[in-house]
C-alpha cells in the first residue's frame, strides 16, 4: 500500500509539484471503502468499542499526507483511520487492530483510536481531545534539537481549539519556532455541539494568527487544494521559519461515532455537504478533463473493493492476542528491542 506517499518523490522543495490525482483518488476511495467496511463489521458485532468514521473528510488526510515527506511525523486524533491509510499503514493490519487481533498494528492493544506505526513515522491516534498537541510540539522540538529537516504534522479536530493544551501548544510552537504544522479538520461540530456555539473566534485560523503563526484556511472537500496548501505550509515549516497552521473546512457524512443518533444536524445541511463529496468532486474533474475514464474508475473501484475485502478477511482469520501477553510491555525493560 502507501501508493500516494511511495509513488511520489519528496515534495515541498519550494517548487510546487503537480499532485498525482490518480493516486489521490485511489487513496480517497480506499479510505471511503475501508470505513464503510468497518461500519458494516461494527454493525455485525465484529468490531467493538468506539468507532469514529472519517467518511466525508478523506480529502484532508489524503491531500495533506501526500504533500509531505514520508518520514515527517504524523500525529493525529481518534478519527485517524484515514491518516493511517494515507500514511501507508497496511489496511489489513489496521482492520485487524479494529477487530482486536494479534496481527493488528498494535497487536490489539490500542484499537480504533490508537493506531501506531513508528516505522512509518505514524506516531499515533490519541483519544484525549487536544492531548496530543503537546506531543507534536515535542516531536518537532526533538528534530529541531537534532538539526534534521523532519517536521511534525499534527491533525486535530475543531473540538480541540477550546482546550488549554491547544493554546499552550500554539504558544510554545511560536516562541520556539518549532517545525510543526497544525492541521485543524473543522467539521463544524465537536461531537454534537456546533463549534459556532462554543468558540469565540468565528474563524479558527485567526486564533493561530494571534500567536504570530502563519495561518490559512482551505476548502477541505477539495483534495488538490489541500495538497497545495499543505505543500506550501510544509515548506515554510521546513525552512525553519516556525510553525504553520491550516484550517480545513470539511464535514463528516456520518455521526460522531457509531453510537450517534445525529439529532443535532439539519438534513438539508448534511445534503448540502454531501453534494460536495471530495471523491465525487475529483472524479468529475478528472472525467471532465479526460485524465480518467469510466472504465478506469471502475477498475480502481474493483481494486479498492478487493483490498478492503482482503483486509476484513485477514482480520477475521487472525487470532486474538494471547492472554499471557496481558502483562507484557507496561515498562520497557533493559534488553527490550
Amino acid at each position: 500500500m502507501g501508493r500516494v506517499t511511495q509513488q511520489r518523490p519528496a515534495t515541498d522543495s519550494g517548487d510546487a509539484q503537480v499532485p498525482d490525482r490518480l493516486a489521490l483518488l485511489h487513496m480517497m476511495m480506499t479510505i471511503r471503502r475501508f470505513e464503510e467496511k468497518a461500519a458494516e463489521m461494527y454493525a455485525r458485532g465484529r468490531i467493538k468499542g468506539f468507532l469514529h468514521l472519517y467518511i466525508g473528510e478523506e480529502a484532508v488526510a489524503t491531500g495533506a499526507i501526500a504533500a509531505v515527506r514520508p518520514d515527517d511525523y504524523i500525529i493525529s486524533h481518534y478519527r485517524e483511520h484515514g491518516h493511517a491509510l494515507a500514511r501507508g499503514l497496511e489496511p489489513r493490519r489496521i482492520m485487524a487492530e479494529l477487530y482486536g487481533k494479534e496481527t493488528g498494528v498494535t497487536g490489539g492493544r490500542g484499537g480504533s483510536m490508537h493506531l501506531f506505526d513508528v516505522a512509518k513515522s505514524f506516531l499515533g491516534g490519541y483519544a484525549i481531545v487536544a492531548g496530543h498537541l503537546p506531543l507534536a510540539c515535542g516531536l518537532a522540538l526533538a528534530e529541531q534539537y537534532k538539526g534534521t529537516e523532519r517536521i511534525a504534522v499534527n491533525f486535530l479536530g475543531d473540538g480541540a481549539v477550546n482546550e488549554g493544551e491547544y493554546h499552550e501548544s500554539l504558544n510554545l510552537a511560536a516562541i520556539w519556532k518549532l517545525p510543526v504544522l497544525f492541521i485543524v479538520e473543522n467539521n463544524l461540530y465537536g461531537m454534537g455541539t456546533a463549534l459556532s456555539s462554543v468558540c469565540a473566534p468565528e474563524e479558527i485560523y485567526k486564533s493561530a494568527a494571534g500567536y504570530g503563526i502563519r495561518s490559512e484556511r482551505v476548502d477541505g472537500m477539495n483534495v488538490t487544494d489541500v495538497y497545495r496548501s499543505v505543500e506550501r505550509l510544509a515548506h515554510h515549516v521546513r525552512s525553519g521559519a516556525g510553525p504553520a497552521f491550516l484550517e480545513a473546512l470539511c464535514y463528516r457524512f456520518r455521526g460522531h461515532s457509531m453510537a450517534d443518533a445525529e439529532l443535532y444536524r439539519a438534513k438539508d445541511e448534511v445534503e448540502r455537504w454531501r453534494s460536495m463529496d471530495p471523491i465525487l468532486q475529483l472524479k468529475n474533474e478528472m472525467l471532465a478533463d479526460g485524465s480518467i475514464d469510466e472504465a478506469g474508475i471502475e477498475k480502481m473501484q474493483a481494486d479498492v473493493e478487493e483490498m478492503v475485502r482482503d483486509a476484513a478477511q485477514f482480520a477475521e482469520d487472525s487470532a486474538p492476542p494471547p492472554i499471557e501477553s496481558l502483562w507484557r510491555g507496561v515498562y520497557k525493560e533493559p534488553g527490550d528491542a
Binding site: Y73, V105, T106, G107, R109, G110, H114, F116, D117, V118, A119, L123, G124, Y126, I128, G131, H132, L133, P134, L135, A136, C137, G138, L139, A140, L141, A142, E143, Y145, K146, A152, G164, E165, E168, S169, N171, L172, I175, W176, R328, G329, V330, Y331, K332, E333, P334, D336, A337
Partner: protein
C-alpha cells in the same frame, strides 16, 4: 567522603547527565536565567547554553507533553515542574500519555523522560503548595515514582532515573534541599525497587520515605534510649515498591507503622498495609498502623501546619501503643 547538601547532590547528577549524554536536555519554568526555584539548576544555562537548558512558559501541560514528544523522538529530556502541586496541570500528559504509550503502542514507543518536582510540606506555604501527591502517581502502571530521602539517595537515584527507558516521576522534598549527608564525588547508581534499611531494629518496623524518614529516624533514636529498637526502612521508590524488603523486616519485628506526610484516607500507606497483610499476615502481632498527615487541606499557621504533619512524638506514641 565529602558532605554535601541534597540540592548539591541533585546538581551533581544533573550536571553529569548534561556533560555525558548529548540526548539529554532540560526544560522547565525558571530553570535557566533564574537558576531554578529551588536553585537546583543554577549556573547550567551559563555553562550549557539555551539549547540544553530551556526556560519555558508557565504552561505545565505543554512543557511536560513536549518533553514526552521529544522522548518519543529519541531524546532524554528532564522536565522540572517546580512543585508537585503544579504537576496537576500536566497530569493529562503524565497519566494519559507518558504512562501508556509503551503499552498502547505495543512496545513501538517508549518515553524515557525524567519529570522532577518538589513535594511535601512544612514551610508554611499554604494548602496549594504543600501537598504530598506521590501516591497518585504511584497508582499508575507505566510510571516509576522516586522519593529520595537523603543527599546520597538524591544523587544515586537521579542517576538511575536517567538510565531508565520509562517515564520517571522524581519527587524531591521541599524540606530536604538544605540537609547534608555524605555523597561520593564519582557517579553511582542506586537501584529502583530496593529499600534501604536505614536503621536496624527488632521491635517495630517504621516504613518511611522522603521527608518522613527524618521523623521515623528521630523517633527511633529517642525510643532506643528507652530500650525499644525500631527498624527504619527508607523506601527510595514507591513504584517499583520493595515489598520483599518490607516483608523481610516485618517478619523480623512482627509490627509495622507507615510514616508518611500524605493524607491517610486513600493514601499510599494503605497500599503498603494491604500488601503486608497479604504477604505477612501470620507474622503480625497486631494491626499495621499509619502515622500520616491530617485529613485536611494544609493550613498556613505554623502551629496548625505542624499539627497536621506527622511528628516524632506521634510516631513514638504509636510505637508505644504496639509494644
Amino acid at each position: 567522603m565529602p558532605e554535601i547538601t541534597y540540592r548539591e547532590a541533585l546538581r551533581q547528577a544533573l550536571r553529569y547527565q548534561l556533560l555525558n549524554d548529548e540526548r539529554v536536555f532540560f526544560m522547565g519554568e525558571d530553570i535557566g536565567a533564574y537558576g531554578g526555584s529551588y536553585a537546583v539548576t543554577k549556573g547550567f544555562l551559563e555553562e550549557f547554553g539555551d539549547r540544553r537548558v530551556k526556560d519555558t512558559p508557565i504552561a505545565e501541560s505543554v512543557v511536560v507533553g513536549a518533553g514526552i514528544g521529544a522522548a518519543m523522538a529519541g531524546l532524554k529530556p528532564m522536565v522540572e515542574l517546580m512543585t508537585i502541586n503544579f504537576s496537576l496541570l500536566a497530569i493529562d500528559q503524565i497519566v494519559n500519555n507518558a504512562s501508556k504509550l509503551h503499552y498502547m503502542s505495543n512496545g513501538q514507543i517508549n518515553v524515557p523522560i525524567v519529570i522532577r518536582m518538589a513535594g511535601g510540606a512544612g514551610s508554611q506555604l499554604g494548602a496549594q503548595h504543600s501537598q504530598s501527591l506521590e501516591g497518585w502517581y504511584a497508582h499508575v502502571p507505566g510510571l516509576k515514582v522516586v522519593v529520595p530521602a537523603t543527599p546520597y539517595d538524591a544523587k544515586g537515584l537521579l542517576m538511575t532515573a536517567f538510565d531508565d527507558e520509562n517515564p520517571v516521576i522524581f519527587i524531591e522534598h521541599t524540606a530536604l534541599y538544605t540537609t547534608k549527608g555524605e555523597v561520593p564525588s564519582d557517579p553511582y547508581r542506586l537501584p529502583f525497587g530496593k529499600a534501604e534499611v536505614y536503621r536496624q531494629g527488632k521491635d517495630v518496623t517504621l516504613i518511611s520515605y522522603a521527608g518522613s524518614l527524618q521523623q521515623a529516624h528521630g523517633a527511633a533514636q529517642q525510643l532506643a534510649a528507652e530500650g525499644i529498637e525500631c527498624e527504619v526502612l527508607n523506601l527510595r521508590t514507591l513504584r517499583p515498591l520493595d515489598i520483599d524488603g518490607i516483608v523481610a523486616s516485618v517478619r523480623k519485628t512482627n509490627r509495622a507503622i507507615i510514616v508518611e506526610d500524605d493524607w491517610e484516607f486513600g493514601g499510599f500507606g494503605g497500599e503498603i498495609a494491604a500488601l503486608i497483610q497479604e504477604h505477612a499476615f501470620d507474622d503480625l502481632d497486631g494491626p499495621v498502623l499509619r502515622c500520616s498527615g491530617a485529613d485536611v487541606p494544609m493550613p498556613y499557621a505554623h502551629a496548625l501546619e505542624q499539627a497536621a504533619l506527622p511528628q516524632e512524638a506521634d510516631v513514638i506514641r504509636l510505637v508505644k501503643s504496639m509494644v
